[in-house]
Symmetry: C2
Subunit: 149 residues, 2 copies
DNA sequence: GATAGATTTTGAATCATTCTAAACACCAAC
DNA sequence: GTTGGTGTTTAGAATGATTCAAAATCTATC
């Protein structure tokens, strides 16, 4: 079920890790491929369970380590909703998250540049932004699946 | 240090609680007044410590209870930053939060209606929003205090 | 002033995450 | 091919914010 990384994806992983003097390992490959395979913003436990199917000896601590590493090198984003378990997202394009209260599912919402600049424009002088996080809460009305890959 | 509630504030509290058939208690009054007295988005522990100054017997569980009650009746908002302790905010106007990475402080950023509608406009069909949360991360450049009351 | 319902209190339980220390893997130098 | 160094993985313990459970306290009403 968890196919290997494509040429391109492996390169991206290798490249991202290289910056911190870190290496591609079998565990990191699997964890990354789990994130790419089903972009439904899984929790650590979900990643762990999916990854274990291809690598039974994998430990939970390693999944935490890998994900932290990926976040550190900018390959992956953390997604938090209140104090629920952290979820992980490999979508590097600027996007917001929509959390469906009835299903608990998290959807990516593309974020056009003009929205970002509108947002930056409301900051008073002296506030320098590194990043902006936007999350919608609500529910989705039928409207076909809203695919999470 | 923690002055009592004004007429108006007490009424607001009483009114908000009444909807759920709940009553004003000395503990709830103190906890609410702590939030109003210093709008720096305190954590539960910070609220607890401040409140204890006026009511030494107050328990931590009660602070959790009061805050949960307030959130439930819409008097107060929770503010989360990643998985840090939840903070509490009595500002009911639509606003975003700016988290200063160097000081850890959280500032309110007024949110004009046109920004909210711009944001709503990027949602694909079928996504019905109940609420939108926006948080900026960055640092503040001198520019006088950025008062947190 | 007894009874019921809400609230508060204490202390224990939960549970995601982090930490620690021991095993491993890899590679380059000897 | 052994050794030393460095980064990685692993299992299990520790942490810490939050939640829970149950007893004690209050308050309003009969
Ligand atoms: Mn709804
Ligand atoms: Mn910065
Ligand atoms: Zn995402
Ligand atoms: Zn606020």
């Amino acid at each position: 079920m968890i196919q290997n990384l494509s040429e391109h994806q492996r390169e991206q992983l290798q490249e991202a890790l290289a910056h911190g003097g870190q290496k591609v390992t079998p565990q990191r490959e699997i964890v990354y491929s789990v994130l790419l395979a089903k972009r439904d913003h899984p929790t650590v436990d979900e990643v762990f369970n999916r990854a274990r199917e291809s690598m039974p000896g994998l430990s939970l601590a390693t999944v935490y380590n890998c994900l932290e590493t990926f976040v550190g090198c900018g390959l992956v984003r953390q997604v938090n909703h209140e104090r629920e378990s952290t979820r992980y997202c490999p979508n590097l394009a600027p996007h917001a998250h929509f959390r469906d209260e009835s299903t608990g599912r998290v959807h990516d919402i593309e974020l056009p540049e003009h929205v970002l600049s509108t947002l930056r424009s409301i900051l008073p002088n002296g506030f320098e932004t590194d990043s902006i996080e936007i999350s919608f809460h609500g529910h989705t009305k039928n409207s076909r699946n809203h695919n999470s890959n």
